[in-house]
Amino acid sequence: MILGRRESLTGRVLLIILMVVTLVPFVSLFVTALHESGTYPTGISWPARPHWGNFVEAFRAADMGRLLASSLLIELGVVPVSLAIGTMAGFAFGQVRMRGYQFAYFAFVLGLTLPYEAILYPLYYQMRSLGLLNTRWAIILPLIALFMPFSIFWMRAHFVNVPRDIVEAARIDGANMWQSFWRVQVPLAMPAISSLAILLFLWTWNQFLLAIVLVDDPLKRTMAGALGAFQGHYGTDIPLLCAGSLLILTPTLVVYLIFHRRFSTALLQGAVKG
């Protein structure tokens, strides 16, 4: 595309503004985390003596090692199951199209519009009556259900666009439905499945509200959920809270940096196919 001088200049200025707006909170977080524990830093100012030890302190104080393990357990509970069910359901809605599939699909899409905060109360009582309150299941099971509409929506968008010929070729080659799904469809769906995996990972990792409400023990929560407990204990200790937040952010940043190319294609994919 050929751009005029003014256009490209405006574009650059806008991008820089957006970048600053995005980065400032992180910079602020980082700088504050380096101040002495127990102080109240104001604004963004580099401390006279950066307290790098704050990170170690926060890690130890919040028992970050066990939180990390807890978060990973929850991820392991949520992501593979969501992927498996979402992929199979997406295949069913996108290609098998059994009788009445439109209604079931409509119901799932309706689920996309549901603000999950609205079901928090009933969820609490349900979990209590199931005896799952204060266990990781209280986070894992609702998350699988809450992510399901999106997972299905996402995977269906992929399966709808698989060329019909390939499906038919597999049928003529003698594959039954399961063989055609497992040997042909799933390998072809890998880009969609892996981008869904990344999204689900991030959303589970960042899950805060469900963790806070349904699980009391911070050590059984997600990392982000643990932040709540953090605030209670160290409400006055802003630098430590900031250091803790940064530690919690790190894994998502790492995931993003490793997969960022795939991540942006995933977002674009949604934009075009949505």
Binding site: R171, D173, G174, A175, L188
Partner: protein, 360 residues
């Protein structure tokens, strides 16, 4: 290897009134190369897909060998299909693509390797066995699709316009390859195309379809020499047959001041006064203007081995007649005044009202 029989097979797509394939009766002999040809929307692909089991049969039956397969799933019909876009599995190598059916059928690994190798050798694909389809040329992909069909040693090959994505030169080369391969393997083959040249050159017999209805099924020679109606006459042959609507009076068919006599049987078969005169480009003799139908040459297409003259007869300036001068005649030039005489043996007569050929 087997016979294929369509018995009053009909397909009506949901939500439509007119059948895509209407009461198709067709018997394909064991080992025969049958070409289904017709313009788009003629139902040729639908007929093929019905045979494949990809399309339901609403009425009638379909047999492969002695088995009624009307309600049998595609995977149990023992057929192999080559798709227009090849439909290769993009995530598998050439070898895996060709061997997919055998793998599904849980054949021993050694046997799969052996049979894939044989098929690849037959199609000159050996050097590419480890490549993915994305790294193959169009012609190679087409051959992989063929290999996937061959390796199965099926009862019937189904081919849905397998050459339409190749460039013109490759298409001609592949055409003969497929035809000779089929003859060597002796597998009953049903081949769909919209290209009448492919139909003429490849088929043992050719079935011409239009609007879901079978028009004529016969050898290419018969289709060309004795088309059963105006549609087949116009469809087979390139450039197409000149079809001129005329009328009958006492002596016979009146054409530009000349009379072509009708036999009593022809006269009896006529439903009205209208007769369509059909003469292929090569069926004209070029004479001097005062001997034949006077006409002016508008354009001459020189193809090297052949040349075609597009001429306008004086009696109707809006009409164009295509003429191929035979080798004994000099090629006319643009602007020449010539006379045209249809050779009596090259004249086809059709009833204009019904389009049906008059008896010879």
């Amino acid at each position: 290897m087997a016979k294929v029989i369509f018995e009053k097979a009909t397909r009506i797509y949901p939500g439509t009134q007119t059948p895509a394939v209407s009461s198709l009766d067709l018997e394909i002999e064991d080992g025969e190369f049958m070409v289904l040809v017709g313009p788009s929307g003629s139902g040729k692909t639908t007929a093929l897909r019905m045979l494949a089991g990809l399309e339901a049969v609403d009425e009638g039956r379909i047999f492969i060998g002695d088995r009624d397969v009307t309600d049998v799933q595609p995977k149990d019909r023992d057929i192999a299909m080559v798709f227009q876009n090849y439909a290769l599995y993009p995530h598998m190598t050439v070898a895996e693509n060709i061997g997919f059916h055998l793998k599904i059928k849980k054949r021993p690994k050694a046997e799969i390797r052996q049979r894939v190798l044989e098929a690849a050798r037959l199609l000159d694909l050996e050097p590419y066995l480890d490549r993915k389809p994305a790294r193959l040329s169009g012609g190679q992909r087409q051959r992989v699709a063929m290999g996937r069909a061959i390796v199965r040693q099926p009862q019937v090959f189904l081919m849905d316009e397998p050459l339409s994505n190749l460039d013109a030169k490759l298409r001609v080369a592949t055409r003969t390859q497929i035809a000779s391969l089929q003859r060597r393997l002796g597998v009953t083959t049903v081949y769909v195309t919209h290209d009448q040249v492919e139909a003429m050159t490849m088929g043992d017999r050719v079935a011409v379809l239009r609007d879901g209805i079978l028009q004529q099924c016969d050898t290419p020679r018969v289709l060309f020499d004795r088309p059963i109606n105006v549609f087949v006459a116009g469809f087979m042959g390139s450039p197409q047959m000149n079809l001129i609507e005329t009328s009958v009076s006492d002596g016979g068919v009146q054409f530009a001041g000349r009379t072509i006599p009708l036999t009593p049987t022809q006269r009896a078969a006529l439903t009205s006064e209208g007769v369509t005169l059909g003469v292929r480009p090569e069926g004209w003799d070029i004479v001097s203007p005062n001997e034949g139908v006077p006409a002016i040459v508008e354009i001459v297409e020189e193809l090297g081995s052949d040349s075609y003259a597009y001429v306008t007869p004086e009696y109707d300036p809006n009409r164009t007649i295509i003429v191929r001068p035979n080798s004994a005649q000099a090629t006319p030039h643009k602007g020449d005044h010539i006379g045209l005489v249809p050779r009596p043996s090259a004249i086809h007569l059709f009833d204009t009202a019904t389009g049906v050929r008059l008896p010879d």
